[in-house]
């Protein structure tokens, strides 16, 4: 019970959650059949990274500001990445009338 | 933990009362304003000048059956009104009514309100999708499409004010306007803000996601009874918050002579809401493509130029 009480302020919990989110994202990237689903999984994966950085930066570094700035940068980069990804997805859909990952295998050449 | 449970419960009850009372007053006011602008009187029967009409309507609405369409996506359909209302409920928290009357002084209150406003749009999208109705879906899709056209000018407006004040805290922004209200420095920005806020709250002439003449009732076509009234509550509370933000950002918050601060805040908020109602009953609806080009070609450059000029003046 005492362990539970310290849980919200426990580095281990955040690390485990972050890794779980990372695993979920990775699973989605392997098994989704749709480019947009792919992007959604990618975002989850980035969330895992973000939580990890925030948790480490908060508990292990004397100055937590750096971790926050890094997280903000990650959020910004994720936004840019999502924009490019969606642009590609829309262009692919225009050209091939599908965004299913399996159908797009002819891109191999 | 230095917050007491009693305080939290007190704030919650207070905010709930504010939301409910505000919706009751605003629905009545809207019908009155509409009536008088069209040479009518509006509701007159229930209570003096029909002031209890909304209450009667509300009781009728709540007692009605909540019809769920067979083909609807049930969990999403039921979740949507709640998702739409809860962020609005939460956005009441950092709004200052006077120097002391404020649920929670938060140093990033402004950002919080804007972020929560975005969640409201998701509620509309959810309703549009969950209803499994093409009009509802179009309404939801429009809500998402217009978000980019107004959010950027809105954020630039807000950023200009933040640049002038140097704080995200709504209270600091209001205190900084003790002598001169921001609207005197930034009249154009105020107009841009009011227009974007009209867009944001889905009010006519920009009510694309409801668009009665095109989309039946847009995203809430399939909602009846409680679900519909929750959407209504969300819309009118959102108007209140948007007007409250305008009050704090441009009209000096609670500052004003003679009257106590809370009274001034409420007077300013309801004046801005009246302005928005005035828009609604004056202007015809615009088409969505007109609105998008208006947002990108007029609002964005205007706010951007204003931002740059302000930055230049502040730097000097």
């Amino acid at each position: 019970m005492e362990f539970l009480a310290t849980l919200p302020n426990n580095l281990l919990l955040y690390v485990v959650v972050a890794h779980a989110l990372f695993a979920i994202g990775l699973y989605g990237m392997l098994f989704r059949r749709n480019l947009i689903g792919f992007l959604i999984s990618l975002e989850l994966l980035l969330q895992g990274v973000g939580i990890n950085i925030m948790a480490f930066g908060t508990y292990l570094v004397p100055d937590p500001i750096q971790a926050r700035i890094t997280t903000l940068f990650i959020i910004g980069i994720a936004a840019a990445e999502a924009a490019v990804f969606l642009g590609i997805a829309v262009a692919v859909f225009r050209n091939y009338q599908t965004i299913g990952v399996d159908e797009l295998s002819k891109l191999k050449g | 933990m230095n917050i007491s449970l009693l305080g939290i419960v007190g704030y919650l009850v207070g905010i709930a009362a504010l939301v409910g009372l505000n919706a009751v007053i605003l629905v009545w006011l809207e019908r009155k304003v509409a009536g008088h602008m069209q040479f009518r009187l509006g509701p007159m029967e229930v209570g003096p000048h029909g002031i209890l009409q909304t209450l009667a309507d509300g009781i009728k609405l709540v007692s009605k059956q909540l019809v769920i369409p067979d083909e609807a996506d049930k969990p999403l359909f039921l979740l949507a009104p709640i998702v739409s209302l809860v962020p609005i409920f939460a956005a009441m928290v950092p709004l200052p009514f006077s120097e002391t009357v404020q649920a929670w002084e938060l140093n990033i209150g402004l950002l919080l309100i804007i972020a929560l406003g975005l969640l409201n749009t998701l509620g509309i999208l959810l309703a549009g999708w969950g209803s499994n109705n093409k009009y509802a879906l179009l309404g939801g899709a429009r809500a998402v499409a217009q978000i980019l056209a107004y959010k950027i000018p809105l954020l630039i407006c807000v950023m200009t004010i933040i640049m002038m004040t140097g704080s995200f805290s709504l209270r600091d922004i209001a205190i900084a306007q003790k002598d001169t209200w921001n609207v005197l420095y930034q009249p154009i920005l105020f107009i841009v803000y009011i227009i974007t806020v009209t867009l944001e709250t889905n009010r006519s002439p920009f009510d694309f996601s409801e668009a009665e003449s095109e989309l039946v009732a847009g995203f809430h076509t399939e909602y009846s009874g409680m679900g519909f009234s929750l959407f209504f509550l969300a819309e009118y509370s959102y108007m209140f918050i948007a007007a409250g933000l305008a009050t704090v950002l441009f009209l000096g918050g609670w500052h004003g002579p003679w009257l106590p601060g809370v009274a001034w805040t409420l007077i300013k908020i309801y004046s801005i809401i009246f302005l928005m109602m005035w828009f609604r009953w004056t202007f015809p609806r615009v088409r969505i493509d007109q609105m998008l080009s208006f947002g990108w070609k007029i609002l964005l450059p205007l706010s951007l130029i204003n931002f740059i000029i302000t930055a230049g003046v502040l730097a000097l």
Partner: protein, 170 residues
Amino acid sequence: MFDTVIHDVYYLSFAMILVLVLGGGIIAVTSKSLIYCFFGLVSSLLGVAGLYYNLGSPLVAVMQIMIYIGAVCVAIAFGISLTRKTEDEGVKPPDIKAAIPVVLVTAMLGSTLKGLEGRHIVASAHKADESLIGWMLLKEYLLPFEIISILLTVAVIGAVTIALINRRIG
């Protein structure tokens, strides 16, 4: 008595945040319907914002909501509505490949925990001066900050260009 209640409320809300993060994530990757995935992602992002708040950084939490839900999720909703032709493709049935994330992440977690053994916790959540972030962004981190703004501009222009390529040719 109130204090214990408020602690209970606090733990309850923290548990709810965890459910939002993990439950939303699981919905986001396993659900058949793309719109369910989308709302799973939204709930997961909201939960992560809650975690950031709990780590003592309301600013990052609010930025998370604003940028992820206001920009990324809206863009994804756009993408879904622009590319939806028929029913969604759903997910492949799980096979041996499902072991990859499990094994990989378990290994990562193991090594992380191993690495953490020697470290002692120097700080704790709930205290930080967030107003420093602005100063640091404009002083020490000015270059990365500007690079990110350029990256964002380039990315948006690039995305529009890519999406318009076909239209120009056709």
